[in-house]
């Protein structure tokens, strides 16, 4: 408008035009500012917020309490306790030299160390973490009496394993920061560790607090294992004896339920106490759970897989005969021999004597592909996923570079690396009608409110047909009855299994060590309705006792009998063809009934109530009652028959605990003495030899049997007062 008038040429319009230029310059500057805002408030926001938080907040992490670990029956195997840790505020310390002396004594630390901490140039310094209650008590009274300043206590948690070594390899242990270092402690760490809380103080630039947030740590979830602590303890004890008996370096034993895959016990020797901290590096190595972490060559046990596969494929019939060629066979230039110069044997016989020739010929019949496939089907070459850390997958030789020589190795359990648990799972296939079921250690995870948040659902798959499994059962029973594993024969229960004796591979020489062996036995019982499957591996038994049948089979027997009885499995046979059965059988061994676990079960309020009732009806004094309430005075009877002078308790507490293991209704009997720990003779009449023997053993009695069948007479008579260790005699007769 102005521009069109003559005045437009005047300087003013030019001036006004030039204003636009600076307007644009300033606008561009503003855009630059906006861009910078976007850069810092969007792209660098997180980083800046972190910086801000770091300088504005002082956060102290509070450690959570780990969840407990229970066995299948709710016995606590691991728990966390609150303990004190000692911290020092050097600024508040008055006489460091004198204080260092007394502190070093109380906390058993070196004086120099204490002095250096007391004079450290820090606000707060740790002196000793997780001290004992005793130390804390002394220290507190010392502080109080001498009015010491500058010593502070911080509550932390400490893992405690009430049963020390029992189940140590399964449980594992924790580090100083309460982090799971091994076993289920490590495998399920994120479930049981809980969530750490924090105390966060917001401060201004001068360090003055103006805000405070606190988050309580959350207690971790609890684990319920498939382990039965009682069976675990007894397995460890039995394994210990077995290893000592044959002068071995160590050993492994695992018990599982072949139908469900639940591992009832898993033991390794030498053991360790998870309550003790690791002080040397090699101790960590010694805490490896060899049952799942170390692969070994199984030897003859592996023939179970070879024959199962051959029968299942139809290439071999259980009734077939195999020519053992006088006990030697040459494969790819190597001659492999048998223990004897066998001629033609049936399949059953070949397994009973553990003929290598027959197994190799069977393997050849299967051929490379079928053999390798079967081995994989049985679960070898990959980790089981049992819920334990560091599982070895093992290896199957010949998968990549097969050679003819592999036929001389794989069928008899060489050139394969397996873990004891893999073998157990494979043999359990036979026990479980041909289905492989995943062995597992964790039953469930329970939240702090008691809800089950996780329940293990084991994988399972069919590996061989039911009929193959039946045929193999019969054959493997033969191994126990008349084959290499006669020492695995059980009292009162049928059993089946296979021995293994394998040379140890010496990594130093690259050859098999001629005098060092793994002796093993893997089997199950009772044969027709297997309740347990057990593997025992003995590491380097003394030469001469190094066969699986010598070193491992007796341990199997001890462990299997113990486990079956603890589980209250009804005996399925009275072995009348036992050579000993007609002769008097002296039982003088004390079964681990006097272990300290019996007590715990009877400490529950229900039991106390039952005891109180009993006490009133029998007018026993309280002291009597309590003094005599020891485990050996208490036994269970599953026949339901009892004499009148023995109190009868339809004990809910007692039988419910075991009710999952047996369908039979049972009655608990408490047998009390009158005075100095002596016992009352139970009524054994009308009971089988198995039960009678068990009852007597539980009471710690030595018993002599005569005849077979059902108890018709007993000495002393029922109800008679007897002492522990007393001898008694039982007469049995077959009753039609």
């Amino acid at each position: 408008m102005i521009g069109k008038t003559p005045q437009a040429i005047n300087p003013l319009s030019a001036v006004k035009k030039r204003t636009i230029f600076f307007c644009v310059v300033l606008a561009l500057w503003a855009i630059g500012v906006e861009a910078r805002l976007v850069q810092y408030q969007i792209f660098k926001h997180e980083q800046m917020a972190n910086f801000a938080e770091r300088q504005q907040q002082r956060t102290i992490k509070t450690t959570p309490k780990r969840g407990s670990i229970f066995d299948r029956k709710g016995r606590e195997l691991a728990r966390s306790l609150e303990v004190d840790s000692v911290y020092v505020a050097p600024n508040e310390i008055k006489d460091p030299d004198i204080l260092a002396k007394s502190l070093s004594q109380i906390l058993s630390l070196s004086e120099d160390l204490v002095l250096s901490r007391l004079t450290a140039k820090k606000v707060l310094v740790s002196l000793k973490r997780k001290i004992t209650d005793e130390e804390a008590k002394i220290l507190r009274s010392e502080i109080e009496s001498k009015k010491i300043t500058g010593i502070h206590f911080v509550t932390e948690t400490k893992r405690f394993y009430p049963k020390d070594e029992v189940g140590a390899y399964v449980l594992g242990f924790v580090g100083i920061e309460e982090d799971g270092a091994a076993g289920v402690e490590r495998q399920y760490d994120r479930h049981i560790q809980g969530r750490s809380g924090f105390v966060s103080v917001e401060t201004d630039a001068h360090g003055r607090p103006f805000g405070r947030f606190e988050k309580q740590p959350e207690i971790g979830q609890s684990l319920v294992l498939t382990i039965d602590e009682q069976i675990q303890f007894r397995t460890e004890k039995a394994l210990h004896e077995a290893v000592a008996n044959v002068g071995a370096k160590g050993g492994t034993a695992i018990i599982m339920k072949p139908k469900t895959g639940e591992i009832l016990a898993m033991a390794n020797l030498p053991g360790f106490n998870p309550n003790l901290p690791i002080t040397k590096g090699d101790e960590l190595k010694n805490r490896r759970n060899r049952a799942v972490e170390d692969a070994y060559e199984p030897g003859s046990v592996f023939k179970v897989i070879t024959y199962s596969a051959a029968i299942d494929s139809g290439l071999l019939k259980p009734t077939d005969q195999i020519d053992c060629q006088g006990g030697a066979i040459t494969i790819a230039g190597h001659t492999i021999k048998d223990g004897g110069r066998y001629g033609t044997l049936t399949v059953g016989e070949a397994i009973e004597v553990s003929s290598n020739v027959a197994a190799i010929k069977t393997g050849r019949k299967l051929g490379k592909d079928l053999l390798l496939e079967s081995i994989k089907n049985f679960g070898f070459g990959k980790p089981i996923g049992a819920g334990l850390p560091g599982e070895s997958p093992g290896f199957v030789g010949g998968t990549k570079n097969w050679s003819e020589a592999s036929f001389g190795a794989l069928p008899i359990g060489y050139q394969v690396g397996v873990t004891p648990l893999q073998i157990l799972a494979a043999v359990s296939v036979v026990a479980n009608n041909g289905e492989w079921i995943q062995p597992h250690i964790l039953k469930q995870i329970v939240s702090t409110t008691g809800d089950v948040v996780f329940q293990t659902e084991p994988e399972h798959r069919r590996v061989i047909s039911k009929s193959t499994a039946e045929a193999m059962k019969t054959i493997l029973e033969g191994v126990v009855v008349k084959g290499t594993a006669k020492k695995a024969r059980l009292d009162g229960y049928s059993a089946a299994g296979k021995t293994g004796t394998a040379h140890k591979y010496d990594p130093a020489t690259g050859r098999y060590a001629p005098t060092r062996y793994y002796a093993s036995f893997c089997g199950f019982a009772p044969v027709n309705n297997p309740e347990i499957a057990v593997i025992v591996v003995i590491d380097e038994p003394r030469l001469g006792l190094h066969h699986g049948g010598q070193a491992a089979a007796p341990a199997f027997k001890q462990i299997a009998e113990m486990a079956l009885r603890t589980l209250n499995i009804a005996p399925d046979e009275i072995n009348s063809d036992y050579p000993e059965s007609d002769k008097p059988l002296i039982i003088d061994e004390h079964l681990p009934i006097e272990d300290d676990f019996g007590m715990e079960e009877f400490n529950s309020p229900e039991i106390q109530e039952i005891l109180a009732k009993y006490q009133s009806t029998n007018s026993l004094t309280e002291t009597d009652n309590q003094l005599n309430l020891s485990s050996k005075n208490i036994s269970t009877d599953k026949t339901g028959k009892n004499s009148k002078n023995v109190p009868e308790l339809k004990g809910s507490a007692l039988s419910n605990r075991e009710s999952s293991d047996t369908k039979e209704s049972r009655v608990a009997i408490l047998t009390f003495s009158e005075g100095d720990g002596s016992l009352v003779m139970p009524d054994l009449r009308h009971q089988g030899m198995r039960t009678a023997l068990q009852r007597c053993r539980e009471l710690g009695l030595k018993v002599t049997f005569q005849g077979s069948g059902e108890v018709v007479e007993q000495f002393p008579a029922p109800g008679t007062a007897i002492s522990p260790g007393a001898e008694c005699k039982v007469v049995l007769q077959k009753i039609q």
Partner: protein, 372 residues
Amino acid sequence: MFRLQLAETGYGDRLLLATTVGLVLFGVLMVYSASAVMAQQEYNSQFYFFSKQVFAAMLGFLSMIAVTKIDYKHLKNPAIVYSLIFMAVFFLVLVLLLPPVKGTHRFIRIPGFSFQPSELAKISLVVFLAYFLEKRAGEIRDLKRTFIPVVIISGFLMGMVLLGKDLGTTLIMALVTGVMLIVSGIPLRYMGVCILPVIPLLYWQLFHVAYRFERLKAFLDPWQYARDEGFQVVQSLIAVGSGGVKGLGLSQGKQKLFYLPEAHTDFIYAVIGEELGLIGSAIVVLLFLLFLWRGIRSARHAPDMFGCMLALGFCVMIVSQALFNMSVVLSLVPAKGIPLPFISYGGTSIIFSLIAVGIILNVSNYINSENS
């Protein structure tokens, strides 16, 4: 006719007025938020700075209204122009003679009140330049009659401000002078000649005055010097960055708790960034852009050179100072103490800024009259 015009439009450009009022009210709020904790601690009243700022803002608004009512053309009077310059120089000399406050000669303190002569100097400079450049409009390219007197007088004012160790204000004054001279049509080469001697001076200042070199390094990589030279900038960036898009919420900022120095004055924009996030701080920039648009519009519609120059000078002065302040907060330029117009705490700043707005508003009154 002129008086009638005044009565009709009242306070001039309404958008400009609204923007100004909005920024001042927002500023008062932010001063409270940024200073409450510190005021409580240091002066035992969380409203210490807030109430002083409210008082100053009210005084500022009254001054602004008064100025709006007086025709800017009355300023086109050598007596007024030179007495303004004289007053500015008088106070600038006085402040140099008084004992320094926090190491600088910026404030004249009378109990309960303080006065910053550099604010008066800025206003006086713009009024002088507008007056002088209009007077010399015909001979604008005349070196002796126009350029040299302008450079001497404005250079003298700037020198006095620089002596008070107020480099930030000096730079703004130089920038406004430059813009006004260029827009008025002074040949660029004169400006170039003027800038040439400054270059070695700048070089010497930067690389041979030890603390300035350290500051330059701290500016280039503040995180490296986060504990000393870069502290202020780092704290400022942390504040702005931690605000994110939405901010922590009004008064929820934490950086003002003695982490961020000068939180209620020169670094108030960092508090805005922290508490109101990208949304709040971007809006502040947009408000200043709005102010720029309306201010320049007023200049372009001014009836005479004097009005145009006044509106341009004050508008550029306020907007460039705002952008400069934000750039310092965001570490786009090296740290210089300079308040954010309308928002930062400081009575003299807010009063003189509002007087400047009053003059622009008065100029903007002519927008309609010129159209008719």
